[in-house]
């Protein structure tokens, strides 16, 4: 296999950072997050999974979708200027698959979302295969693999201290360009250690479980915050609202929103179809495993386990899926 040594890889990444926006895993406070990197010293190579997904580089937590200027005779509406190219390094296969899940809605369902589409088209993905599955990971139960290469442009696999590198798409090949690679012998580590088979019910089996008291009992401890939806790589609900920057300048913002928030569905008159947190928690699971696949194709979960790791009250998606299956 063609490979780069660790030092060579870091040097190549720093070179990329010099000519493009490079986003990679870096330490921020006590967490590891995908952030812009400029120097190789900032890049973390030994990590399990970042604490937030890479979705903010395609669906930013906040973005201005329109610029509006108040004029004497009305308004002038402008769209934001186009973004430059970006490279995301160190993308785990689950996070890369999550982009395909979002594509099903943002690209493939008419009309395509132009903001997401532009970022997606201008981003090159450098994947990094997992050495092993984490305690909370269950990607294999969703038909994914911790070394899946099909969702990235370039795939890196750690092997005996070197990084085997393979171009998956023409975009990846172009990025790799004339980078110097050496041959390396050996077999990548088996990432399927700690693989856990979690029962994922097919779409047709969800309706009969809708009215089960299971949901009320589960939701007793739920705090109805937004944490799970924000750390999730496939959750995409957003809000749109104008903000007045001055008496002449207005921005129309799009920002992350969450179906778990109590007022998420409340309309101006006060009516709220999901007033109880049990209904909202239930809707989140149904949206991911029952509605999204019916509407757009893929199940809206990649088994990354971030919601499991971070939920302050231990609402565990694996436990939920196992519990539902047993009903």
């Amino acid at each position: 296999m063609k490979a780069m040594s660790r030092d060579r890889l870091l040097a190549w990444l720093e070179e990329l950072a010099g000519r493009s926006t490079l986003i990679g895993p870096r330490i921020v406070g006590e967490k590891i997050l995908y952030k812009p990197v400029h120097h190789s010293a900032e890049i973390v190579l030994d990590f399990a999974k970042t604490d937030l997904s890479a979705k903010e580089y395609f669906l930013p937590s906040t973005e201005a979708i329109l610029s509006v200027k108040r004029e004497k005779k009305g308004f002038d509406v402008e769209e934001p200027s186009l973004h430059g190219r970006q490279i995301i390094f160190g993308l785990r296969p689950c996070d890369a698959r999550a982009l395909r899940v979002l594509d099903a809605l943002f690209l493939n369902k008419e009309p395509a979302d132009p903001y997401y589409a532009e970022r997606r088209e201008k981003t090159t993905l450098i994947g990094l295969a997992c050495r092993e599955m984490g305690d909370e990971c269950f990607c294999t139960s969703l038909g994914l693999a911790p070394d899946e290469a099909n969702d990235v442009d370039l795939m890196l696999t750690e092997m005996a201290g070197e990084y085997a590198i393979r171009a998956v798409t023409a975009k990846g090949k172009a990025l790799l360009g004339a980078a110097v690679l050496q041959e390396v012998e050996g077999v990548p580590p088996n990432p399927f250690v700690r693989q856990k088979q979690v029962p994922i019910l097919e779409v047709g089996k969800w309706p009969e479980r809708f009215d089960s008291p299971f949901w009320a009992h589960l939701s007793d401890r739920c705090l109805s915050c937004r944490l799970c939806t924000y750390v999730c790589p496939t959750c995409r609900c957003f809000d749109i609202r104008d903000v007045e920057l001055s008496d002449k300048e207005i921005e129309r913002l799009r920002a992350w929103d969450s179906c778990m928030a109590e007022g998420y569905r409340r309309i101006a008159g006060g009516h709220n179809p999901r007033p109880a947190k049990a209904e909202r928690l239930r809707n989140r699971f149904y949206c991911k495993f029952c509605y999204y696949p019916q509407d757009f194709g893929p199940v809206a979960c990649v088994g990354c386990g971030r919601c499991i790791a971070q939920c302050p009250v231990n609402v565990d998606a694996v436990e939920v899926l196992e519990g539902l299956s047993a009903l």
């Binding site: 921020v28 906040t62 401890r221 705090l223 992350w256 928030a261 971070q310 302050p312 009250v313 436990e319």
Partner: protein, 282 residues
């Protein structure tokens, strides 16, 4: 102690003195999480050990309304540590929770641990016993003998410019998930000012200025009400040291008014009271 907790819960449920007992149970992956026991046969689920960090007082808000119209609100039993009882006193004083509708099993507490380390608030705990209870379990542990506000010393040593940079660095990571607010027993507004859109005080943007505004504003809304249970910081997915804000404010309040939060349900908090001695000539 766990058997005493389970026995009491069973007795209260069987005699229908309560309709639910809120405690802790074993969760997944070595974690403990809040438990809601409705059936006396299930009290075996209850556990008590040093992993029981959550402040369960926050769940009393969901039992405030009657289940059926015309009935009184449900009576619940709850397991509380000394720090948790401070926040319960705040809720009693603010008339959010009716004392008669709660049966408190109060625990003498040696401290809880997170990541193998004794929690900060436990290292300097001055109560050691619950401040309000219907049943007290456990022997009073040794006093910690620790100075109360040592953890804000580093913050105080910073110049205002350094402090601003410190908090900007911390809040940059914030994702405005509101886990801190939702875990806090004292944050019970129907519509938080952070989510009001008329006017849009904080708008919808998840950017540094709105995030800083939210956290500082929340700390001020909690001044004199924050019991220091640290549920906010423990809930935060980005490990932001939120308690430093609240502790600094608590330190100032104690110095100015000699006030410590949640010691009882009667003493009015200084920011909600005015004393004649405080009158300043115009």
């Amino acid at each position: 102690m766990i058997e005493q907790i389970r026995d009491k819960a069973r007795e209260l449920l069987e005699s229908k003195q309560i309709s639910c007992f809120i405690g802790y149970e074993r969760g997944t992956r070595g974690k403990t999480h809040p438990a809601f026991i409705y059936n006396p046969q299930e009290v075996g689920r209850l556990v008590w050990d040093e992993s029981c960090t959550h402040n369960l007082t926050v769940y009393l808000h969901q039992f405030k309304n009657p289940v059926k119209r015309g009935e009184p609100p449900p009576r619940v039993g709850i397991l509380l540590k000394p720090c948790d009882t401070r926040s319960l006193n705040v809720l009693f004083h603010e008339k959010q929770i009716d004392r008669a509708r709660v049966y408190v099993v109060g625990l003498a507490c040696e401290g809880v641990k997170g990541n193998g380390r004794l929690a900060g608030r436990c290292q300097r705990c001055s109560e050691r016993l619950p401040l309000v209870y219907d049943l007290l379990l456990g022997e009073k542990p040794e006093p910690t003998g620790r100075e109360d506000y040592a953890e804000v010393a580093d913050l105080e040593a910073m110049s205002p410019k350094e402090r601003l940079a410190f908090w900007a660095r911390e809040f940059e990571r914030c994702i405005r998930c509101y886990a801190c607010r939702q875990a806090c027993p004292a944050c019970y507004c129907f519509e938080c000012v952070a989510e009001q859109l008329d006017p849009p005080w904080m708008g919808i943007a998840i950017d540094l200025s709105q995030k800083q505004f939210f956290h500082v504003m929340r700390a001020y809304h909690l001044a004199g009400r924050c019991a220091g249970c640290n549920a906010c910081e423990e809930a935060c997915p980005m490990e932001i040291p939120l308690s430093l804000l609240n502790r600094k404010i608590a330190k100032e309040l104690e110095a100015l008014f000699g006030y410590k939060v949640g010691q009882d349900a009667i003493t009015p908090p200084p920011l909600a009271t005015f004393k004649k001695e405080e009158e300043v000539p115009l």
